[in-house]
């Protein structure tokens, strides 16, 4: 019974914690520019993420290692330098974007300029990491994130035609701006399948001490949790499509995106959008900073863990604090968070093959997944995803140039 409660909580917190600056930005733009026709991209990206997350969770539950540890031990440090280095750079950019998103949300709520919010938001994140523990962070972020269900409520109130929605799940080239469409579909993948999510998910499994008995929980959390979570992102796309699409509003800023709530929520529009954006970004920033600590601690063999006494994990604390400080510093320079978001999504796609390739090996090694190796179907799927990732990695930069 207790386990069932935890599983349900895990799914609920996954829903609440799904959207952040990347998914909101790409969904809002996709909806306003191409109607429902990019829904398939969110679905496909989420499936991609869930497949990888389940695998990472499997290695954690059976092999008792996070991705960072598994990659170092199986492939050696020389290989690891590439995905590790790339992931840290992207995580830092994404952290900067999330800080920016949270700051903009605070500005929308208070009228005080967004640059003034960067440091307070950053300090708040640090305080959560300093005083919190894994349960508080995971459940807190996830439960507060329920506010993002505003996107789902909005769709429900707008009553779109289900037939037209269903059409959006069939990939089809549009009759205008094909480059832009392709760019947005790839950006959606980059925004959804963030590399930090995989190691964070695995680290969470280790923090919660999952065992081989918990593999079903792993599957449920990965697929149902992220599946339902993606509905929030889809809700954002559909709402943007219905409200902003006909006005041909090109979403260049979050203030514009917030307009999508006006017909549904009236004078609460900006408040609800800002809260959804703010909570989503705040939660994601906490996870990204924490994950930086996880990745460095696991790769280098330090003691780590957000449930441990801080004095026992001094290098881990220094790591996440330093990364957070760097993120705050870069955010203060004042780059447009929307641009930083799309850039980090594009870079994520570029390194995607290097992230997926290790899974192909690890899923077939008893040392890491015990008896739960991938069958031919699992391997076939991974191989297909690797190839897909490689294709996207090749086209994303040209697409950014022509369709960005």
């Amino acid at each position: 019974m207790r386990k069932l409660f935890n599983v349900v909580l895990g799914v609920v917190t996954s829903i609440g914690g799904f959207v952040e600056v990347g998914s909101i930005s790409t969904a809002a733009q996709a909806g306003s520019e191409f109607g429902f026709s990019l829904l398939w991209a969110i679905a496909a990206a989420t499936l991609f993420l869930a497949v990888l997350a389940e695998m990472a969770g499997r290695v954690a539950a059976v092999g008792k290692r996070s991705m960072a540890a598994a990659v170092r031990e199986r492939f050696g440090f020389h290989f690891q330098m590439v995905p590790l280095g790339a992931e840290l750079v992207i995580d830092l950019l994404l952290l900067t974007a999330e800080l920016g998103g949270a700051a903009i949300a605070a500005k929308m709520l208070t009228g005080i300029g967004f640059q003034w919010w960067i440091v307070p938001v950053g300090v708040a994140i640090w305080l959560v990491l300093w005083f919190g523990n894994f349960t508080v962070i995971e459940d807190g972020v996830g439960l507060l994130g329920i506010i993002t269900l505003s996107f789902v409520v909005a769709v429900w109130r707008l009553q779109p035609d289900p037939g037209q929605i269903a059409h959006g799940f069939i990939p089809r080239l549009p009759n205008h701006d094909v480059m832009r469409y392709a760019f947005l579909s790839v950006s959606i993948v980059g925004a959804t399948v963030s590399p930090y999510l995989l190691n964070f998910y695995a680290s969470g499994a280790l923090e919660e001490k999952w065992t081989e008995q918990d593999l079903w929980i792993n599957r449920v959390t990965a697929f149902l949790g992220m599946g339902f979570g993606s509905m929030v992102a889809m809700g954002c796309l559909v709402t943007a499509a219905i409200v902003l699409g006909p006005q041909h509003v090109k979403v260049d800023s979050y203030e514009q995106a917030a307009l999508m709530f006006v017909p549904v929520f009236g004078r609460w529009a900006v408040t609800l959008f800002a809260l959804s954006l703010g909570v989503g970004c705040f939660g994601a920033a906490i996870e990204i900073a924490l994950n930086a600590g996880y990745v460095l601690g696991q790769a280098f063999g330090w003691t780590w863990g957000i449930d441990k006494k801080r004095r026992d994990v001094a290098r881990f604390v220094t790591a996440f604090s330093t990364v957070l400080l760097l993120g705050i510093g870069i955010a203060l320079i004042g780059f447009d968070p929307l641009q930083v978001t799309l850039t980090s999504a594009a870079l994520t796609v570029v390194i995607m093959p290097v992230i997926v390739l290790p899974f192909l090996v690890l899923m077939n090694e008893q040392e890491y997944v015990g008896a739960h190796t991938s069958g031919p179907m699992g391997n076939g799927l991974l191989a297909a995803l690797t190839i897909l990732g490689a294709i996207m990695a090749l086209v994303v930069i040209p697409l950014e140039v022509f369709g960005g």
Binding site: R72, E73, W302, R310, R311, D312, A314, E367
Partner: protein
């Protein structure tokens, strides 16, 4: 035993099961007419840096010297002190016999100063 696959980059634990870090480097001793012998393992960022490029190793060592923690680092553990190699490398030493946690202790002195930490 394939040293690179089974020893290098694996976690190291001491006699009591306490984590000591990872095998960041190995020391190989060439022998005339016979295959080289695994002489020892190295633990520490200077050793890891050295694997990438000797200059990086020297840089890390210089940094550690600046902080005053370079004594006995990178930690060289003679292969005689390795008890077993399975999913982790188990040593016959205890963590206190080595300087592996010198940086951790140095940083701990700062972390403790922060208010309210557990």
């Amino acid at each position: 035993m394939n040293v690179v696959r089974d020893v290098l980059d694996q976690p190291v634990v001491d006699r009591n099961g306490r984590a000591m870090g990872r095998v960041d480097g190995i020391v190989i001793e060439p022998r005339d007419g016979r295959p080289p012998r695994l002489a020892g393992i190295l633990i520490g960022p200077a050793a890891l840096g050295h694997r990438l490029h000797p200059g990086i190793g020297r840089f890390v060592s210089a940094l550690e010297a600046r902080l005053g923690v370079s004594a006995g680092r990178p930690v060289l553990v003679d292969f005689e002190a390795v008890d077993a190699v399975d999913s982790k490398v188990k040593l016959r030493l205890t963590i206190g016999d080595t300087a592996v946690d010198a940086v951790e202790r140095w940083l701990r002195a700062w972390v403790i100063k922060l208010p309210g930490g557990r």
